[in-house]
Amino acid sequence: MAGLDELRVTFFQECEDLLDRLGSGLRDLAAGGGGGAEQDELVHSVFRAVHSIKGGAGAFGLDDLVGFSHLFETVLDTLRSGRAGPTPQLLDTLLRAGDMLDDLVRAARDGGAPPQERLARIVAELDLLAEGAGEDTLEDFVFEPLALDLGGTDAVGPGDGAGAAGFDILLAPRGEMYMNGNEPAALIAALATLGPLTVTAGTGRIRPLAAFDGADPGLRWQLRLQTGATAGEVAALFDFVEDLAEITIEPLPGTPPGPDPGGLPAAAAGESEPPASAPVVPPGPATDPPAAVPAPAMPAPATPAGGGTVVPMAAPATVRVNLDRVDRLINLIGELVIMEAVLSRIIADAGLESNSDAVSGLDRIRQLADEIQESVMAIRAQPLRPVFQRMERILREATEATGKRARLVTRGAETEVDRTVIERLTDPLTHMIRNAVDHGLEDAAARAATGKPAEGTITLSAAHRSGRVLIEIADDGGGIDRARVRRLAEDRGLVTPAAVLTPAETDAILFRPGFSSREEVSAVSGRGVGLDVVQREIQALGGRVTIASEEGAGTRFTIALPLTLAVLDGMLVEFGGQTMVLPLAAVAETLSPAGATLHATGATGQMLANRGRLIPVVDLAARFGLPSPGPGHGPGVFIIIESESGTRVALAAGAILDQRQVVIKSLEENYGTVPGVSAATILGDGRIALILDPDDILRGAGAAAAGAPRMAGGMA
């Protein structure tokens, strides 16, 4: 049986799904959402999402969440009942209410506090909308607790002690009571829990079998209950059957007068319904815990009594799988890939013919392993849609804070990326969207002056391209003001006044730590989080960020990511007798030492002249404490690796051995952190090879080469 803590986890997982459904439903509605039945279903599904969050939140005592979702639901109900139309203004408020609900769920889960000012603002807006909608709702709310209070006060009132306190009760069920599944015996048993009960069955009205009428079976009970309970508490037990039976409740002489003790409608009420606001039965605590929030009208689609609404299936069937299990599967497939490499080597060593059964069998295994790997990766792959949807709200917040107008156009939200990548994309994308609004887009006046529409457009798109995922964030703003970037970079000592920079090199300064193009820190983009952080995060995912800008037309950031973090396209390189793996993405160029010009710097340093630049040479073997090739043995090859900002170093390597996909094994989990190394892999012959971390190597080299002469265009 699940513990409460586990259920809490379940609840928050469910909330994620519900918030997704809420968000996409509201967006579809805002986009016009078909019409007629389709639109109705959208409204219902949105309503259900908020309703379910409210229900679960109540169970865990998350009162803030209950209160807000209730208010939200009340406003949604105006849309559902047709009292309000899906106007852009209403949908805008609902979208922002959805954002707030998201925040409140997160605050409830993580223990933080939601942004109070924004909460107050949206609550005020919703209140206004709710007020116009449901006067009856409010009356319900006012009425019920009052009735309870009265009952409570009477219960503690002095009895006169002149006789037993209690009630004489008549219960005469009509046929409907049985047809609804109510069992008089169970009801009588429940009454007996309140005190000693005497039951007298009245059989006088029962007709002979031939004349028996199911609608009026005629069985009745006279009950005397001795109890200290109030009339309200007693009546509460009958609330399921109150107009399905003739019920009277008379206080015994010793009973303090309760509020309207005999106030239950007699069975004669028949089909006529009491007005909804009439105090028919004071609700008792057994079934009606006082609601902390006003109860709105019935939250069900209007259907004829007894008939159900059949709603089309919303989503394909899914199974929730613990991520650990998928990870284990992926690890096992990694082992399979390694074993296949081992087998392949054994077969090669055995000198078998390439047309032998063993070789063709191995080929088949290799194909299967590839297919399994792809299928399993697909399990962990998820569409970018949730992240993209999140960005819509980030945009709304950013435009609200800056007073600029902008819309987000998304493309390729269905593009699937490994789940671990998706999780870590949210922060960088958030920053880039804010950046695009804050820095990318011009203000309204500047846009008008250049004949652009007042509303800016930010395009967020994703696509698969040659084994990588490309994500682009483009704005139609003014483009990068390179003169200003240059000036600021000089002020901050990031470039020398003499340096000659290409436009691309100038743009790349935006990614440098310590560069912020805004003189004053803006409330939107904030301080301390620059594009350098974005770049680091993307690089940590094995990706790259590039920037392209056209003056007057806008700026485009492109993020290229690997499809998965589990395998890597690597170059197998020999350093000091060890085989290591260099991520292919970082390799800019390879160079034979024969044609290279080297310059000595300091006692042991070397710089390689390449395309008009001097590039520091890093002897990795020496850095890892491996034997360097003896004197006279220069490096077999220089491998030039490059960072996003254009920083390059040349690695002096023994030889390039191979180029292949490798399975990434965490070194930190199994051993510890090693500078310059990001992970490890297992080679076909069973040996372990380290996977190098180009960024770490570049950082180390940058420091080492700080004193090196700078050539024109150098940005060390």
Binding site: R48, G58, F240, D243
Partner: protein, 122 residues
Amino acid sequence: MSRRILAIDDSPTMRGLIARTLGEHDFVVSLAEDGADGLERLAEVDPHLVITDINMPRLDGFGVIAGVRGDPAYASTPVLVLTTESSAELKQRARRSGATGWIVKPFDDGALIAVIRRVLGG
């Protein structure tokens, strides 16, 4: 004899809460995730009591009640609807649709068990 209860709710949280509470009180609980699923499982579970949410995809709670009442074997089986409302309108509607009673969410363990005992006895 433990009595069998079929609980129908599209919220896994709510299903979990019901299963937990009822399990602690010696009921045998079967769960279904929407109205259609619930009706499909009706004969298999053969419940003494059905508890159903109202707002659900595919088939809502009123559909469940209609289905249960329409099956001669379960025409008089108690059906409790789970609701966050306690309005007079809801009560009317639930009664007219054939519900035996209702349980107002959020419920505490005691309230849930008390309501169940009221319709099942014992």
